[in-house]
Symmetry: C2
Subunit: 211 residues, 2 copies
Amino acid sequence: MAPKTKLTYFNGTGLAESIRFLLVYLDREYEDSRFGEEEWAKMKPTTPWGKVPLLEVEGEKSVAWSLAITRYLGREAGLAGANTWEDLRIDEIVYVISDLQSSMASYFHEENEAMKEYLKGPLFSTTIPFYLSRLESQVKENNGFLANGKLSWADVYFAALSDYLNWMNGSKEILVGYPNLQALKAKIFALPKIKEYVAKRPITIELQLKE
Amino acid sequence: MAPKTKLTYFNGTGLAESIRFLLVYLDREYEDSRFGEEEWAKMKPTTPWGKVPLLEVEGEKSVAWSLAITRYLGREAGLAGANTWEDLRIDEIVYVISDLQSSMASYFHEENEAMKEYLKGPLFSTTIPFYLSRLESQVKENNGFLANGKLSWADVYFAALSDYLNWMNGSKEILVGYPNLQALKAKIFALPKIKEYVAKRPITIELQLKE
């Protein structure tokens, strides 16, 4: 029997959805523990690094950091590279996507209005189109995938994260104009286990698009 | 014969030093290509993702992203975990350190004065002491290392990056008050190949402390 697994995160896709996608892809039963925004202030000091998602696996100390957990499950799922160089190419793309996400999050979650305005211009005029157009080419040149011309956990990470990116994009589909990225997302969402999960996941705020 | 290797970065330690440390630890000959700040604007658009460091290995497409390259070389050097769970624990710590570094860099490299002032308070009163005190405990509980109670590439990453952190700390030693972290840094700097490299590396600005 597989060890008992528990995932702790806000009630949303955000930085935990790639972990959920990989857990269902692995067909691993897990407890999907979601908490409300209002609980976070109290919970934060009890976490090892002040961060979620947190993964607990029976018999092991609980562990933080979205990308670390995603990479771990991606390897467990057989979605890593065939050698260290292929893993490097996967990681490179994953960091590109993560940098895009964190640039958007710095803007989106900023509470100071002046600061938010300051970040907005360069983000929407430069950072987002730069990364998305280069990622689009990357997929075009890689047989419809992000790295090494084949399916890897980078593709699952990208697809799972894209709904969070939509939310931070003003609740508008961010992949408009990038047909190869759209096709990649659709391909991941069509994987049987993931399709089944997505059909029944909670429709949290970041999944509600305006158009 | 090992393939020809080239590293491209600014003339400084920054995000490239962990790569240099691992290349020398691996005893791999490489070209250490350093460029001046004034060349960056022209170079940036010629890079795949607008980022350095870049690693070129003969016969392979050049690759970006400091942590991706550091992890790759760490694995090549035999400094990864014994299994995927140990690798996860290494990655967790590496992301903690990387988050500390990027929080400091957001402040340090900010050119807008109002914005810089806004970031300064929480960074120095909360973020830095929080992370360093938890990392200090981590080393204490892990037999003098950052993860899994033994040497890993996380330790090399931390030690190599710490001079850059000092610079962003107002050119003052950031590990004062954290004896376990200091001892860890010293241990990495005492590894024969790294010691030899450090003794002859260029004394760039971030290596010049005020006290």
